[in-house]
Symmetry: C2
Subunit: 348 residues, 2 copies
């Protein structure tokens, strides 16, 4: 990957030289960041607000494949995945810590590329990088990020607040990240069989970007605030719509009706799923990694949200005994089941 390029051996920099090198341009911008990188711990001050903390681990071979994932994109995505959890609490993300384990097969330029993506994401979302850990790895590339944010107590949205009759909404569209992954995996196989064939991703930018460079939906949080709509429950879509909706229903002790025809699917996602003989609805329900926000709102808020194009009403919350159901396009009712791809899963 870096064979024809300049390579700087990490060991030449030394342990603390590497840290200085990677962090020398950090400028703390959050008022709550009192002290960032450079001591035993970072120091934060949220005044009277509640602090939000979330963490995710990304492992090579499980969560990403360096054969088709540029390191800059990977760094960007790793931050987005974490910020998404803070927004899913209706909070403001303010800081991240980033820990990286890397084998010596990576030159300094590779780590720099990874950090370039990390800093780009931090910059774009106004988040400070305040600490972390860098270590050699005998295994593959390991990325662990913890995100920190805040919210007023009255604004926090948990997963367990959905009430009977609430409308189920989801931002953006679903299934794109998963079909993008299928495409990348196919082109990888083609390339491995014949390295002279260039990957054919033409016209597929949108779904490839959904997979490689997702955006956490801070804009939706801002929009809801502008509209003065506080969701009753919220979660981000990392494992697929079905899994996330079941989390909300289980934790709220409610049932739901989800309408297949309402699930927002981009035409390119639809078309690509068909190419792969996949059901586009299944891609949306179980594909995951879309990092959209799934939330429920009171029916009383319907007038405020009905003309918004940024999210779609896809069903409603029922009493628990009705179960969690998908109403298909043909009008049949099926029990909603989670078949997320995710390995083991997250505590948060």
């Amino acid at each position: 990957m870096f064979e024809n390029e300049e390579r700087t051996n990490i060991e030449k920099l030394g342990e603390f030289g590497l840290i200085d090198h990677l962090t020398k341009n950090i400028k703390l911008t959050q008022k709550s960041s009192i002290k960032g990188v450079g001591d035993d711990a970072a120091v934060l001050d949220f005044g009277g607000k509640k602090t939000l903390i979330s963490t995710d681990m990304l492992l090579e071979g499980i969560h990403f494949d360096l054969a088709y994932t540029p390191l800059k994109h990977l760094g960007y995505k790793a931050v987005q995945v974490n910020l998404s959890d803070i927004y899913a609490m209706n909070g403001t993300a303010t800081q991240v810590t980033v820990s990286i384990g890397m084998s010596s097969r990576f030159p300094l330029e590779a780590i720099e590329e990874l950090y370039e993506g990390i800093y780009l994401a931090c910059d774009k979302y106004g988040v400070d990088l305040i600490g972390g850990d860098t270590t050699a790895s005998k295994q593959g590339l390991v990325i662990s990020i913890t995100s920190i944010g805040y919210a007023d107590e009255k604004d926090i949205v948990y997963r367990n607040g959905a009430e009977e009759g609430d409308l189920i909404c989801v931002s953006g569209d679903l299934g794109g990240a998963y079909t993008g992954l299928q495409l990348l995996e196919r082109e990888k196989l083609v390339y491995m069989e014949n390295p002279n064939i260039q990957p054919d991703l033409e016209g597929k930018d949108y779904i490839v970007e959904r997979q490689l460079k997702p955006e956490a939906r801070k804009d939706i949080i801002d929009l809801l605030q502008d509209m003065q709509v506080k969701p009753t429950a919220m979660i981000d879509v990392s494992d697929g719509l079905a899994s996330e909706l079941l989390h909300i229903c289980k934790q709220s002790n409610k049932g739901c009706k989800l309408y297949e025809e309402k699930i927002p699917i981009d035409p390119m996602t639809y078309e690509t799923a068909r190419e792969f003989n996949l059901d586009p609805t299944v891609c949306a329900l179980s594909g995951g990694e879309d990092y959209e926000l799934l939330f429920t709102v009171k029916q009383a808020d319907y007038d405020k949200i009905k003309f918004k194009l940024d999210f779609t009403i896809i069903g409603y919350i029922t009493e628990p005994n009705a179960g969690c159901n998908l109403i298909t396009k043909s009008g049949n009712m099926h029990e909603l089941k989670a078949q997320g791809w995710n390995a083991f899963g997250s505590l948060q």
Copy 2:
């Protein structure tokens, strides 16, 4: 390792079943823990206090060897290593998030053992586990922990506050964890050459425990508070005394004089170092992983600390042009150099 024992396949539990299983007994005890495991992010409330955050990553083959590290000890140590950073800020540790990547070669019983150690450490230090991530790993075992704590602004001790004339103090004794590691590595080699020979660790409990089951020095923080002594600078000893003292001097823009004869070394550490033809002083200076606290105090506080057995005065801070020097037992002066073993190093 688990061949003759009962094995439960992790995949049978499913992703969320595993999380439920590992977290079902969590009881939040910290007033500041508003919401722990089970939503997109944990929610914390530190009132008007400053929040402290630190993070560390432990990778199999780099930071630990499962050939001689019981998983319970590993879980315990992983938490201690993190809490140590919060205490090194003169703070109170209150929460941790724990992310684990594990290959399927581990049965559920192995993860349980790891978590047993994690919970034991949390319990003993009064810290809540509030979130994390569990994932399959194609590589080895990966552990990433973020610790959270708080302090009043006036109590926080950074690395950069040392002044000329300040006394340099270190808690406990040094070099034990490193000589314990040498012993474990030797016995591993013996065992690999002839599996019928049982490891010979008799009488070496102390240094083996220093390596496998270190304790973060919360007691020293409590003691300093009782004595009404606020250090001017502080750091925990993870990479070795020399490296840590150089951090304090560099960040404080000062020099130091460190006296070899004052460096606290346990007789068992001394004797074992000699067995391995190692200089005990070098083990203390560069061995690392002792997780003692290194701190500087004003000379005016000398009367308060002079009879304390929990820590030792090992030198004093000088003006920067004097450099950082070690005065040997024979009275010679050498420039102090860091030769920590640590791979790449930590941002904090």
